[in-house]
Amino acid sequence: MTNHWIDLKNADVILAMGGNPASNHPVSMKWIMRAKAKGAKLISVDPRFTQTSAKADLYAPLRSGTDIAFLGGMINYILENNLYFREYVVNYTNAAFLVNQDFRGPADLDGLYSGYNEAQRKYDKTTWSFQRDENGVALKDPTLEDPNCVFQLLKKQYARYTPETVSNITGTPLDKLQAVYELYGSTGKPDRVGTECYAMGWTQHTVGTQNIRAMAIIQLLLGNMGMPGGGVNALRGESNVQGSTDHGILFHILPGYNPVPNASLVDLATYIEKTTPKATEPGSVNWWSNRNKYITSYLKAIYGDAATAMNDFGYGWMPKLDVGQNCSWLNLFDNMLAGKFEGFFAWGQNPACSGANSNKTRTALSKLKWMVNVNLYDNETGSFWRGPGMNPADVQTEVFMLPCASSVEKEGSISNSGRWAQWRYKAVEPVGQSLPDADIINELYFRVKQLYQKEGGAYPDPVVNLFWDYGERDSAGKVKHVDIHAVAKHINGYYTQDVYDTSVEPPKLIGKKGDLVKSFGLLRADGSTSSGNWLYCNSYIQVDGKPVNMMARRGKTDATGLGLYPEWSWSWPVNRRVIYNRASVDLQGQPWDPKRPLLAWDATGKKWVGDVVDGGPPPMGQSGKLPFIMKPDGVASIFGPGLAEGPFPEHYEALECPLEENSMSSQRINPTIKIFGGDSDAFYSCDLRYPFVASTYRVTEHWQTGVMTRHCSWLLEMQPQNFCEISIELAKELGINNGDTVVVTSGRGEVQAIAMVSERFQPFKIANSTVHQVGLTWHFGWQFPEDGSGFDSANLLTPNVGDANTMIPESKAFMVNVRKA
């Protein structure tokens, strides 16, 4: 989230689209309802009338996979009706920038942008660039009139998204479409703010990233980014998926969003040179210019004293990707199926039910030589060898199932969707012999290291040089139990030597060797500081020489009245509660809306008051410093050339869809997605065998694949089995009654479910024909309940095709059939 949960109360309009907070983030609804109590309006846009829709002032249905058409129509509406916040758009976004004259967009090229290479399904992005002067400064037209400026190009592209065209694609009735546009468009005034809440309903599409981009563009046009009650808010699914992402358990990022090195970045200097964005705009703060400090401090945290300037701080020990290599989830299981891996850790995760195309995943597991599954409970992944269709005697995988402690049996922090890192205490000892994950990690670290020390082997250097001083050791040198506070402090970072400010005479001591670093502004690139994750620097600090765990704080002050609670836990970065908050003030540093004083420049005291300001300098009017400090150009990107499929979002149909044609252009699907071509990768569009659109979703009582909820009897009693929600019209057509057992099939598999015939799905009128949509939960699996009464995972049906940027699978729009069992 750019903002945070309580901040929802500060909105005037809340758009829940791509998410269903009432069901999936239930307590967040408290803050939406509180906004409503003050007069705010809630809009729900969803293929199904959800629990959120039931509380909404305005509900609009749309066919799964057509969000860009819907939002593109909104961009058009905002521009046509001059509802945008001009001062914000001109000063805080790249709307005025002039784009390369050779750039062409979908309006010129029938759905494509200039530079498309069909054979590679990839763009040459040369023309997706700005016109710049000899110093590299972008040429601009603050009047927004130049036909090559971003604003005019935006206008040109979305002029095609007329209400009629949109409605014909999305199936949203015209009056609903207009009503949503009008209501949300009303937040373009400085004293009106709109926020957006999305979840997997936006990410799980082949155009997922562009769904979110479309909303970001709307929020920028309306001046809602950085505002209290505004932002684009990802309602993340897991209690700590924010933290696990921050800490880089992904193939492409290290902790703190530093890129994983690739083979062409041959040494640390090259890595820093090539991954540090260059700013040419005079007012750009370009925060990523600190990359050198963050990566060097990371390497110091990883290898400790073994990392020295002489050995490039151990950079050479880091594993490197090939240039362009993509090791993301769908590719990982594709490679596993091809027998490329001997070993596999499925740690605190149940891929046999959670990944798209579960049959492919389950077969892939059987190709492993060994697998380690760490969990609270047995599950479909650990027990894959005895699952449906498997003959255990034929499965040659050696499998370990290691019991881990639950959240109340250990201590540590987790980061919620609003970036608050909150501390949890240990209440009891772990069940049976189960161990905290940290201790299992510690044991494996030590034992593998010992083997390398005794026997040698392939390149032992990174294994034996790892810094691991995380607690008291036994006589063999093993850390007995991981001291979580020690880890938290190392994540924050230390001075590794006495550091002086040499700009004054005599030099002044900034930090003593062994002191915790107070904030990432103090991290250094010469090895004199360490920090496991620069974003968390400031989470565990020293006050009067004593360590203070900021994440464990329980202070309840709320000086702004906006619900920031700056003394409750700790929020990254540096306890900032709303990111991009510099955009919430005008050029003089005064809040756009005085009733929502998130931040203000105190001209007398020459300081900012309110939230922790995004970057220190005085207001833009005085310092010239631009507000979006993480962007090299200093302003937010309405034109965003970083993405694979285009600098603006364009509507494409889902890979599996009910339409032969995309009525926006002759590009039916996203031209840049990777399409897997193996035997287990079947995709069917407009195929009579699979005539209905389907989507997966969740219910309040269960969580993800259900491993942590199916075993709770109260929850299982409330939601005992998988169901398939079907409209009354479709049920009639198929002769299905409420409560019947049905079989749902796709090109990849089938799953049983109980039919839930409801009004919540209504058939869509699309291009003069009727399109039906159904939905299933993905909380169940064959392994528990043991009698199979819960049925199996809906991911047996979903397609293993991913978004062109993130490779997140398209689980929200695919094609199925439904029949009575």
Binding site: V241, K320, L321, S328
Partner: protein
């Protein structure tokens, strides 16, 4: 002004508060609840399910969780929880939780319980063997120093400190096939 359940218990004057709360709490029931947690130790935690991050109080007695309930001091959840958070006590006390490491040999038809030491030594051996076999130092003329034969996923269900240690460990082994829930 709202009155939290804990304030309520501190005051424990049932009848006086009925009017303030605007709900007719059955004093007998409240009294029973109070008895149940009377000698319990309290600690705070955060819900392990979704990312709202609601606060929960865990009541323990004799090393056992006897009750979990919403933390009224928590600024986001203000004492409320959804169905999942309300069931936390069932995760702490659950007969189907794994209590020992389990192992299935190649072609085996059943799990068998094994000792931690044995399992960890065996896994360490397998990691080393697969790493040694698949380690690539140079690819297309460039140093890559990576292990190609082992993949890892997980986990968003771990604490931050554990996530940090996890990525640190698997990268020290040279793994590049490293993913987790965020990709779904």
């Amino acid at each position: 002004m709202g009155v939290s359940r804990r304030d309520f218990l501190k005051l424990s004057g049932g009848t006086v508060l009925i009017g303030t709360l605007g709900v007719n709490l059955d004093p007998a029931k409240v009294y029973a609840q109070e008895l149940r947690i009377k000698n319990a130790k309290q600690s705070t935690t955060i819900c392990p399910y979704c990312s709202v991050g609601c606060g929960i109080i865990v009541y323990t007695e004799n090393g056992k969780v006897i009750q979990t309930e919403g933390d009224p001091d928590h600024p986001i959840s203000e004492g409320t929880l959804c169905a999942k958070g309300s069931s936390l006590v069932q995760m702490a006390n659950n007969d189907t939780r794994l209590g020992k490491p389990m192992y299935r040999e190649p072609g085996g038809t059943a799990w068998k319980e094994v000792e931690w030491d044995w399992a960890l030594d065996r896994i360490a051996r397998l990691v080393k063997d697969s790493r040694d076999k698949s380690f690539k130092t140079v690819e297309k003329g460039f140093v890559v120093n990576r292990t190609e034969g082992i993949a890892h996923i997980g986990s968003a269900a771990m604490d931050n400190e554990e996530c940090y240690l996890m990525q640190k460990l698997v990268r020290s082994w040279g793994l590049v096939w490293v993913e987790h829930q965020a990709r779904i």
